[in-house]
């Protein structure tokens, strides 16, 4: 028999990345800014989105695609705080969302009426780091109950994110969490990471977050 070696050199992620490029193009065509919210489970993604949607959702024409592993719980929580369409993606045990799920989600949205799209990824600081969903940027959340070394333990996620949100800062008086050290650890991994510090419970820090979001959304054209 004759065994031949065929050189291939194809990226394994290319199929996902091709879909992500299509997603990015569709969002750009409708002037939609999409943020991919990533974090470990329980860091406060849904709570932050609840406050955000209630405060500025209508003004920024915000929509959400959320990825619970099981249940519609997050989507149901968000739907109570906004009239914006919430499209739930049930990943059925998968550890991340992929671009094809976002592309399917876009089909259920009227993108002409959307200015800002939040993608609430599956709670996981490992797998979602490597999957391009077509977003403008990844935003990594971590809470003050998680430890200052989170950025060092999960460097790829913090390296691939453009923004970070330190959540649950209302708990700081009850913890030994060193904010300066946590931010320094994150900047050691990604010096360009821009930080927000928020409490979805008290509202502390949310105004700066809202102002940032408003800067990301283009005004709707008036005819």
């Amino acid at each position: 028999m004759a065994i031949r070696t065929i050189e291939v050199c194809e990226r394994i992620m290319e199929r996902n990345d091709a879909v992500a490029r299509r997603v990015r193009a569709r969002l750009a065509a409708d002037d939609v800014t999409a943020f991919n919210l990533v974090s470990s489970p329980g860091s406060g993604k849904t709570a932050l989105l609840e406050r955000t949607l209630a405060a500025v959702g209508p003004a920024l024409r915000a929509a959400v695609i959320t990825g619970d592993v099981q249940t519609h719980n997050d989507a149901d929580r968000l739907a109570r705080h906004t009239e914006s369409l919430v499209q739930a993606v049930i990943t059925g045990g998968a550890c991340h969302l992929d671009a094809s799920q976002i592309e399917a989600g876009l089909d259920a949205l009227d993108l002409e009426r959307v200015g800002l799209l939040f993608i609430e990824n599956v709670g996981n600081l490992v797998c979602p780091a490597g999957w391009d969903l077509g977003e403008a940027a990844k935003i990594v959340l971590f809470s003050v109950t998680e430890g200052e070394d989170k950025p060092l333990k999960y460097p790829k996620m913090f390296r691939n994110a453009r923004y970070a949100i330190l959540t649950k800062i209302d708990l700081l008086p009850h913890l030994d969490f060193d904010v300066t050290l946590a931010v320094a650890n994150a900047h050691a991994v990604n010096p360009g990471l821009r930080f927000f510090r928020t409490s979805a419970k008290t509202g502390e820090g949310l105004e700066a977050w809202y102002e940032f979001l408003a800067e990301q959304v283009r005004p709707m054209a008036v005819w």
Binding site: M1, A2, I3, I6, V8, I12, M13, K156
Partner: protein
């Protein structure tokens, strides 16, 4: 947890590469795996070997080539074209 889906994608790409060459039996696949690729290598190898043990691969070998960075590429496939050696 996503190692199985990535292993499935390796098999899909390998099958396509084999078909482009006119078919034959795939005897081995070579995959470059970066140390920052987000892959648990032992898990990935287990998934890939399990898939390569079944048709249409017939016990094909999985060659995992370590690399730096987040690279994850199908480098090569070895194909038995079924023809006798020259």
């Amino acid at each position: 947890m996503h190692e199985l889906s990535l292993a499935l994608e390796v098999c899909r790409l390998a099958g396509e590469a084999g078909a482009r060459q006119g078919g034959g039996t795939i005897r081995a696949v070579g995959v470059e795996v970066g140390d920052d690729a987000g892959i648990e290598v032992a898990n990935f190898r287990f998934c890939l070997e399990a898939l390569l043990a079944e048709p249409p691969f017939y016990e094909a070998r999985a060659d995992l080539v370590p690399a730096r960075g987040d690279v994850l590429r199908l480098l090569y496939v070895e194909i038995d074209d079924g023809h006798p050696d020259d």
